[in-house]
C-alpha cells in the first residue's frame, strides 16, 4: 500500500467524513449528523508547530497541533528520519506536560521556618533572588589565593539540567561563570559524565560515534543497556536490523523487554563489565578474531610504551606508579617511546613486547572465559557462544555495534567500564564504519547538548577544561598546558579566545589576555562535582542554590544526605514545571522520608519556586544522543507567570547587572562587562530573550570586518561565521561554543530548524535534517571506513573513500578528516591538522590513532575492581576496589555494607514509562502505567525470604531503607559467583513523595545509594550496591 511519509492514506471514495457515510446510507439509514460529529478530525485546521520530545535523548521530532492558542494534540513528526513519526509512551504523553492541572503557574515562596507556600509576584521574587545572589556572592567571593587571581565564589551552587535547551545551558554557563560559580553541574554528571573521558580518551571526542539509523547496517548488535525500554523509538533500527538478519546479544543482569527481542540473553552481575569486555578482548586476541589491518592502521596498537611500564598482570592488580598515601598514580612511565626526532616508535608487526598490542594481550590474558564465569556469573559455555557471535562482527565485510548506558557509567570505575567496550570495538575494527560504532544512549533529551555547553564543573562550553588555580594561573599557562602539540585540538586557542570575546566583548582584549581572569579558577581538581556540591551544602560551605529543571532530592545519589544539605542552605531557587521534592524538601515528612518528621520551623532555608515552561512552550535547540541538533518552536505562550528557563536566567542577569551598576570593584567586572543582550520585547514582563540570537552567538560571528590577504571583506562585523575553521586567535571572531559552529552559518539560516527530505540518493542518515556537530558529520572517524590506502574495506561496508581523480574524500557522509589529505600523506607540519597524516583517522587525538592504550586516572587499560559494596573479593587481584576512586567522608551518612549483613546485590534502573522524577510522576497517563514502586526479585530469593508476588517488602542498605512491593519474577535469577549463589535484585528509582496520583508516590530509591565517585568524573556508584530484603514494612 502506498502510505506516504506523511502517513495519509488515500482511501478511495471515502476520504472525508461525509463521503464515508455513503456505505451506511445505502442501508436505508442516514446517520450523517451523528457520524459527522464522530469523525470530525480535530487537528484538521490546527497549526502544526515543530517540536522535539523533551524526555530521552533519541530526540523524537514532534508536531504540536495548536488551535485557538491551545495545544490540542502532540504527535511524532512522520518526516523525522530517525523516528519515522514514532513516539514512546513518554513522547506520546507530552501533551500532559503542558495541559496539566497540577502545573504551577504562579511563583511560590516559602519563608524561612514557614510550613507553607505563599504566592508572590514574579517581580518581587526576582528582585529578592537577585539581591540574595549578590549578597551570597559578595560574602563568599575570593579574588586572590596564593597570589593568583581566582575570582571564585564558593558560596553559590547552580544546577542546570540536561532537559534544558542548548541555548539555556549556554546562558547558565555564561552567567554562572561570570558570577564566579564553580559549583556548576547539570544532570549529565550523574548519568553519562563518564562517557566523555572514556570516548574522548579512546577516540578523541566524548560523544556517541555513530548514528541511530546506521544501526541497520550492523551484523551483530550487543546492547549492554536496556535499549528497548529506555530508548524505545531508536530500537526500531535494531528490530529492522534483526529483520535483515542481524543477531542481538543482550547483556544485562535482568531479563528485560530488550532481552525479550534478543537471540541471546547474557546476564552478568552488576559492576563486572570490565571482566566481560576484557574477556571478549582476550578472546578476540587469543583466537585471532581481531581486525588486524584496521588495528595496525588506525589504533595505537603498534606504538611502543616506556619499558618501565607494567600492567596489573605483573604488579598484582596495580599499574606502575601507584602512590598509596595519595591514592594516586605517578604516570611517568605511562607514555610512548620516542625516537631522536620525537616521533613515536612503532612496531607494525605488533610483536615487540613493549608495543601496546602485546601489553594489551598480556594485560587481558587473565580475563579468561573461566574468569568471566567466576566473576560475572555468566557460564563459560554461554560466554563462548556470545564471544564467538560478537567477534564474528569484524573484518572487511562485517561490523557490530554496542550500546551502553548507566550500567557502565554509574560506577566507581565507570570511565574504564566504558573504555573497555570502546577498546573491544577498536580491536574488532568497528569504529567509523557503517554498522559499527559505540552507541552511547543518554537518558535525558539534552545530555549531549548540556554537556557540550559546559554546565559541568570541569569544563567550559566546547570542552576546554575549567582553569585550575595552581596549574593555570595565567592565560599562557592555560593555553600551553591544555593545548596538545598535534591533532585538531591544536586549534583550541582560537576557540577559547573566541569564547571570551562572545562573553566579554570589547572588554576582552589581547592586553588583558582576553579577560581570562574573569573566569573563576578551581582550587582543586577534586571538588565541585555534583556529589562534592551536596557535601559542600551539608558542610555549610554552599549557601545559595539555584536548581533549574532538576530534582536532586530524589534523583541524586545518597539523596537523603542531599536533603540534609538543603536544610542548611540560606536560600534555594527551583525553576520547574511542577512542585518537586527538591522545592518541598522542608515539609514535615520530607528530609528523612515518611517515617521521621522534621519541624519545618527548624529549617531556615528561604525557598523560591518559579514556574517553568516545557519545550513545547519555548524556542530552542536540543542535541540528541547522536549529536543531532533539532530546533523546536514555541507552540503556545506558557500559562500565567510560567516562562522559559532562558527568561529566568536572562532576567536574573539583567537584574544583577543593575545591582552591580556603578561598582568600581574589580571582582564585579565580569558581570558588568558580560555581553548580555538578547533583545527581549520591552513590553514583555516575562523577559523572554530571542533564542536565535543565542544560537547565533553559540555559532560565532565576526566582531569586526574580516578581510582576506587581498583586502577583500570576507566577513562583515556581526556576520555569522560559516564554521569553526573561520575562528581566529586575534579577537576578530566571537564564538560561544566552537563545536556547534556551522549551525547558523548565515544570518537567519538556522540549520537546527531544518526539516527537509534527503536530497542525495542513498542518504539514509538524511544530512538535510537538523545539524549534527561537528560540521554535520553523521558518523565520526569515518576515515576509518576506508582502508589505509583509502579504498572502502568492502563494497558492503563503504561509507567514504579517497577519490584519486577529484583528489578528495567522497561518499555518503561529510568526511571527518581533512577533505583533501591523501591517504598516503605524511604527517602535516603545520595548520589545524598539524601532526596528522593520511591514515590518522582519529583527528582529535594528538597521535591520530584510536587509543587502545589511553592513560586515565585509574590506568591506561581498564582493570577490574569490585564495586565498593560487593558480595566477593576481587578474583583478579588482591586490590579489591578501584585504588584511586573517591569515597566521601561524611560519617554514618556514607557507611558501606558488608556481605554478611547485606548479602544481596542491588542494581537501580529506570522504566520505559517513567522518567526524571520532576516530570513523569506529574503526568497522569504515565503515572497510571505502574501500580506503584516495586522491586524485581527472583523466585529463589522470594522463597528464601517467604515473599509472595505483590507483598510489601523492605530493602535496606546502611544509608537507608525503603518500602515497596515485590515483583517476583523469573527474569531475575541468582548468580553463581566464584562457586557461591548470590542473589541479585533491581529497583527502579523514579518514585518520590509527590505525584499526580497515589501510584506515582513511593519511597526514594536513591536514599539507598552511597557517596562514592569515579576518580575521573566523580559519578556515583548506583548500579552495584549491597542490600538486604525483608518481608513486610519493617
Amino acid at each position: 500500500m502506498a502510505v506516504s511519509r506523511r502517513d495519509f492514506l488515500k482511501v478511495s471514495g471515502a476520504t472525508t467524513a461525509g463521503a464515508a457515510l455513503g456505505g451506511l446510507a445505502g442501508l436505508g439509514f442516514d446517520l450523517r449528523p451523528v457520524h459527522a460529529a464522530a469523525t470530525s478530525l480535530r487537528i484538521k485546521n490546527a497549526k502544526a508547530v515543530p517540536g522535539v520530545c523533551p524526555y530521552c535523548a533519541v530526540g523524537c521530532a514532534q508536531l504540536i497541533y495548536v488551535a485557538n492558542n491551545k495545544i490540542i494534540d502532540i504527535e511524532g513528526d512522520p518526516d523525522c528520519p530517525h523516528t519515522e513519526g514514532a513516539l514512546c509512551p513518554k513522547g506520546s504523553s507530552t501533551f500532559q506536560l503542558s495541559i496539566n492541572e497540577t502545573r504551577i503557574t504562579k511563583p511560590m515562596y516559602r519563608a524561612p521556618g514557614s510550613d507553607k507556600w505563599e504566592e508572590k509576584p514574579l517581580d518581587w521574587m526576582m528582585d529578592r533572588i537577585a539581591h540574595l545572589a549578590k549578597k551570597t556572592r559578595d560574602k563568599s567571593f575570593v579574588e586572590q589565593e596564593n597570589g593568583i587571581t581566582v575570582n571564585r565564589c564558593d558560596g553559590l551552587a547552580v544546577m542546570g539540567s540536561s532537559v534544558l535547551d542548548n541555548e539555556e545551558n549556554y546562558l547558565i554557563a555564561k552567567l554562572a561563570r561570570s558570577m564566579g560559580v564553580v559549583y556548576l553541574e547539570n544532570s549529565a554528571r550523574i548519568c553519562h559524565s563518564t562517557t566523555v573521558p572514556a570516548l574522548g580518551t579512546t577516540f578523541g571526542r566524548g560523544a556517541m560515534t555513530t548514528n541511530l539509523i546506521d544501526v541497520i547496517n550492523s551484523d551483530v548488535i550487543m546492547p549492554t543497556s536496556n535499549w528497548a525500554e529506555c530508548h524505545p523509538v531508536s530500537y526500531k533500527w535494531v528490530m529492522e536490523a534483526k529483520g535483515r538478519g542481524a543477531k542481538i546479544i543482550h547483556v544485562d543482569p535482568r531479563f528485560t523487554r530488550t532481552s525479550a527481542t534478543a537471540d541471546i540473553w547474557a546476564p552478568i552481575r552488576s559492576g563486572t563489565n570490565i571482566v566481560y569486555f576484557g574477556g571478549l578482548i582476550n578472546y578476540a586476541i587469543q583466537r585471532r578474531k581481531y581486525f588486524h589491518d584496521y588495528v595496525v592502521a588506525f589504533t595505537n596498537a603498534s606504538f611502543l610504551i616506556d619499558s618501565n611500564f607494567k600492567t596489573p598482570t605483573d604488579l598484582g592488580g596495580l599499574f606502575t606508579g601507584y602512590e598509596p598515601a595519595k591514592r594516586n598514580y605517578d604516570k611517568a612511565s605511562w607514555r610512548y617511546q620516542l625516537d631522536a626526532d620525537g616521533n613515536v616508535k612503532r612496531d607494525p608487526t605488533l610483536k615487540d613486547p613493549s608495543c601496546v598490542f602485546q601489553l594489551l594481550k598480556r594485560h587481558y590474558s587473565r580475563y579468561t572465559p573461566e574468569m568471566v564465569e567466576r566473576v560475572c556469573g555468566l557460564p563459560k559455555a554461554k560466554f563462548l557462544q556470545v564471544a564467538d557471535m560478537y567477534c564474528s562482527a569484524s573484518g572487511p565485510d562485517k561490523t557490530g555495534t554496542i550500546s551502553y548506558a548507566l550500567q557502565l557509567n554509574q560506577s566507581s570505575n565507570g570511565v574504564q567500564q566504558i573504555r573497555s567496550l570502546c577498546m573491544l570495538q577498536l580491536v574488532l575494527g568497528n569504529i567509523g564504519r557503517p554498522g559499527g560504532g559505540v552507541v552511547a544512549l543518554r537518558g535525558h533529551s539534552n545530555v549531549q547538548g548540556a554537556t557540550d555547553m559546559g554546565t559541568l564543573y570541569h569544563m567550559l562550553p566546547g570542552y576546554p577544561g575549567m582553569p585550575i588555580r595552581d596549574a593555570h594561573p595565567t592565560f599562557k599557562d592555560f593555553i600551553d598546558k591544555e593545548t596538545p602539540k598535534s591533532g585538531y585540538w591544536t586549534t583550541k586557542t582560537a576557540h577559547v579566545i573566541s569564547q571570551l570575546k562572545a562573553w566579554y566583548g570589547d572588554a576582552a582584549t589581547k592586553e588583558n589576555d582576553w579577560a581570562y581572569d574573569y573566569i573563576p579558577k578551581r582550587a582543586s581538581a577534586d571538588d565541585y562535582s555534583h556529589q562534592h556540591m551536596l557535601v559542600a551544602m551539608l558542610k555549610g560551605k554552599v549557601k545559595g542554590f539555584i536548581c533549574i529543571g532538576q530534582n536532586p532530592a530524589v534523583d541524586s545519589p545518597n539523596s537523603h544526605m542531599g536533603r540534609l544539605g538543603f536544610a542548611k542552605l540560606d536560600w534555594m531557587v527551583v525553576q520547574d514545571l511542577f512542585v518537586t521534592e527538591t522545592a518541598e524538601f522542608w515539609k514535615e515528612k520530607a528530609v528523612h522520608g515518611k517515617d521521621q518528621s522534621v519541624d519545618p520551623k527548624t529549617i531556615q532555608t528561604e525557598v523560591f519556586l518559579l514556574p517553568g515552561a516545557p519545550a513545547a512552550e519555548k524556542d530552542g535547540s536540543i542535541t540528541n544522543t547522536m549529536r543531532l541538533l533539532q530546533w523546536h518552536s514555541k507552540a503556545v505562550e506558557p500559562p500565567g507567570d510560567a516562562r522559559s528557563d532562558a527568561a529566568f536566567l536572562y532576567d536574573l542577569g539583567l537584574r544583577l547587572k543593575k545591582l552591580y551598576a556603578g561598582s568600581k570593584a574589580k571582582k564585579d567586572r565580569p558581570i558588568l562587562d558580560l555581553v548580555w543582550n538578547y533583545l527581549h520585547d520591552p513590553k514583555d514582563r516575562k523577559v523572554e530573550p530571542k533564542m536565535e540570537l543565542v544560537l547565533k552567538e553559540v555559532n560565532g560571528y565576526a566582531t569586526q570586518d574580516i578581510v582576506d590577504k587581498d583586502g577583500k571583506v570576507v566577513l562583515k562585523k556581526g556576520q555569522p561565521v560559516p564554521g569553526f575553521a573561520a575562528l581566529k586567535v586575534d579577537g576578530s571572531t566571537a564564538c560561544g561554543n566552537w563545536i556547534y559552529s556551522g549551525v547558523y552559518p548565515e544570518e537567519g539560516k538556522n540549520l537546527a530548524a531544518r526539516r527537509e527530505k534527503a536530497t542525495t540518493p542513498g542518504d539514509y542518515m538524511n544530512h538535510n535534517w537538523g545539524f549534527a556537530w561537528p560540521a554535520n558529520r553523521r558518523i565520526l572517524y569515518n576515515r576509518a571506513s576506508a582502508d589505509a590506502s583509502g579504498k572502502p574495506w568492502s563494497e558492503k561496508k563503504k561509507l567514504i573513500w579517497w577519490d584519486q581523480d577529484q583528489k578528495k574524500w567522497v561518499g555518503g557522509d561529510v568526511p571527518d578528516f581533512k577533505a583533501d589529505l591523501p591517504p598516503d600523506a605524511p604527517k602535516l607540519k603545520e595548520g589545524p591538522f598539524k601532526g596528522l597524516g593520511g591514515q590518522d583517522a582519529f583527528i582529535m587525538r594528538p597521535d591520530g590513532k584510536g587509543a587502545l592504550f589511553g592513560p586515565l586516572a585509574d590506568g591506561p587499560f581498564p582493570e577490574h575492581y569490585e564495586p565498593f559494596e560487593s558480595p566477593t573479593h576481587n578474583l583478579l587481584s588482591k586490590v579489591n576496589t578501584n585504588p584511586v576512586a573517591k569515597v566521601w567522608d561524611i560519617g554514618d551518612l556514607n557507611k558501606l555494607g558488608k556481605p554478611d549483613q547485606y548479602p544481596i546485590v542491588l542494581t537501580t534502573y529506570r522504566l520505559t514509562e517513567h522518567h526524571a522524577a520532576g516530570m513523569s510522576r506529574h503526568v497522569p497517563w504515565l503515572s497510571a502505567m505502574f501500580e506503584g514502586h516495586f522491586a524485581e526479585i527472583s523466585h529463589e530469593l522470594a522463597e528464601e525470604r517467604g515473599i509472595k508476588n505483590g507483598d510489601m517488602i523492605t530493602v535496606s542498605t546502611p544509608r537507608g531503607k525503603i518500602h515497596l512491593r515485590a515483583m517476583v519474577t523469573g527474569r531475575f535469577r541468582p548468580f553463581i559467583i566464584n562457586g557461591k549463589r548470590v542473589h541479585h535484585i533491581g529497583i527502579p528509582w523514579h518514585w518520590g513523595w509527590l505525584g499526580v496520583m497515589p501510584s506515582a508516590i513511593g519511597d526514594v530509591t536513591n536514599d539507598l545509594v552511597a557517596s562514592i565517585g569515579d576518580p575521573t568524573t566523580y559519578i556515583q556508584e548506583s548500579k552495584a550496591l549491597l542490600c538486604d530484603v525483608k518481608k513486610g514494612e519493617v
Binding site: G23, S92, S93, F255, R257, E931
Partner: protein, 260 residues
C-alpha cells in the same frame, strides 16, 4: 463500501513499550485510570472503557529453561461477524464503510448486551457516561486518511495499519519468514476471512497459542448469527426506539469519561 481497513499487530516485533496505550489515550483524550497490581508490568488485567489498546506481558520459560517474555498489544478485533454489533439493540454499534466497528455514543443506551456478546472482552461500560466504549479504529483519523494513533506511534512497527488484503498478505509473508528462521511457534490469529467470525480486521501474529495470550482459540459468538450483522443492528435500532435508548443509560456523576 470502501476497501476494508485493518491493523496487523505483529507481536514478534513488540517491545511492550505501551506507546500505543498512551497514544490512544492522548488522541482520544481518555482519562488516566488508577492502575492495578497485576503482578507484572501490565497496567490492568483487561481492557477498560478508557484503555482501548492493552499491552499484555506474559512471562514464560522456553525449552532451554531460559526466560521468555511474550509482549502483545491487544485491541478490539473489529470482527467481520461482530458479536457486539449483533447484540446491540439500538444500532449504536455499526460497521463503518471501512469494515471496522464503531459505537455511536449518542445512540448507545448503555444496555451492555454488547459487553457480554464480545468474545474478547473488549467492550467496556463507562460508569461516567453510562455508555460503552472501545477502540474506534480512530474513525476520525482514518476517515481523513490518517493512520490510527497506535499504529502511527508504534516505535518498531509492531502495529501496522492499512488495507486488510495487503496486510493479510504481509502477515502471511512474515509468518513464512519466521518459520524459515526456525520460529515454528509463530501463528497468525484472525487474518483468515474464512476462519472464525469471518476473520478479524485487527489480526495478530502470535508467538504462542492464543490461549497463552488470553485469546480464545476458536472465538465464537454467544448468539447465533442469523442475519447479516449490519442488517440486524439496523433492524434492532428501529425496534427499540429512542425512548428505550435513553432509558438504559446510567449516567454517573463526576466522571467525565474522557468523552468531551
Amino acid at each position: 463500501m470502501a476497501r476494508t481497513l485493518a491493523m496487523f499487530t505483529d507481536t514478534s516485533l513488540c517491545i511492550g513499550c505501551r506507546a500505543c496505550e498512551v497514544a490512544c489515550k492522548q488522541w482520544n483524550q481518555l482519562e488516566a485510570e488508577t492502575p492495578h497490581w497485576t503482578g507484572s508490568y501490565q497496567t490492568s488485567p483487561h481492557f477498560t472503557d478508557k484503555t482501548w489498546r492493552h499491552v499484555k506481558f506474559i512471562e514464560k520459560k522456553d525449552e532451554r529453561n531460559e526466560p521468555k517474555w511474550l509482549l502483545m498489544s491487544d485491541v478490539c478485533k473489529h470482527c467481520n461477524q461482530a458479536g457486539c454489533l449483533e447484540a446491540c439493540p439500538t444500532g449504536a454499534i455499526y460497521r463503518t464503510p471501512f469494515g471496522t466497528v464503531d459505537i455511536s455514543q449518542d445512540i448507545c443506551n448503555g444496555c451492555r448486551y454488547c459487553v457480554s456478546a464480545c468474545p474478547f472482552g473488549v467492550v467496556a461500560f463507562n460508569h461516567g457516561t453510562g455508555r460503552v466504549n472501545k477502540c474506534t479504529f480512530c474513525v476520525d483519523r482514518t476517515s481523513e486518511g490518517m493512520k490510527t494513533a497506535c499504529a502511527k506511534t508504534c516505535p518498531t512497527d509492531s502495529i501496522e495499519f492499512g488495507y486488510r488484503d495487503e496486510l493479510a498478505a504481509k502477515a502471511k509473508k512474515r509468518l513464512a519468514e519466521l518459520h524459515a528462521k526456525g520460529v515454528k511457534e509463530a501463528i497468525l490469529y484472525g487474518e483468515d476471512e474464512n476462519g472464525p467470525l469471518g476473520g478479524l480486521n485487527a489480526f495478530f501474529l502470535l508467538l504462542d497459542k492464543p490461549e497463552v495470550y488470553g485469546l480464545p482459540a476458536e472465538p465464537t459468538l454467544p448468539q447465533k448469527p442469523i442475519v447479516k450483522d449490519a442488517g440486524l443492528s439496523a433492524g434492532a435500532a428501529i425496534l427499540v426506539g429512542l425512548g428505550a435508548i435513553v432509558a438504559f443509560r446510567e449516567r454517573g456523576g463526576g466522571d467525565r469519561g474522557g468523552e468531551e
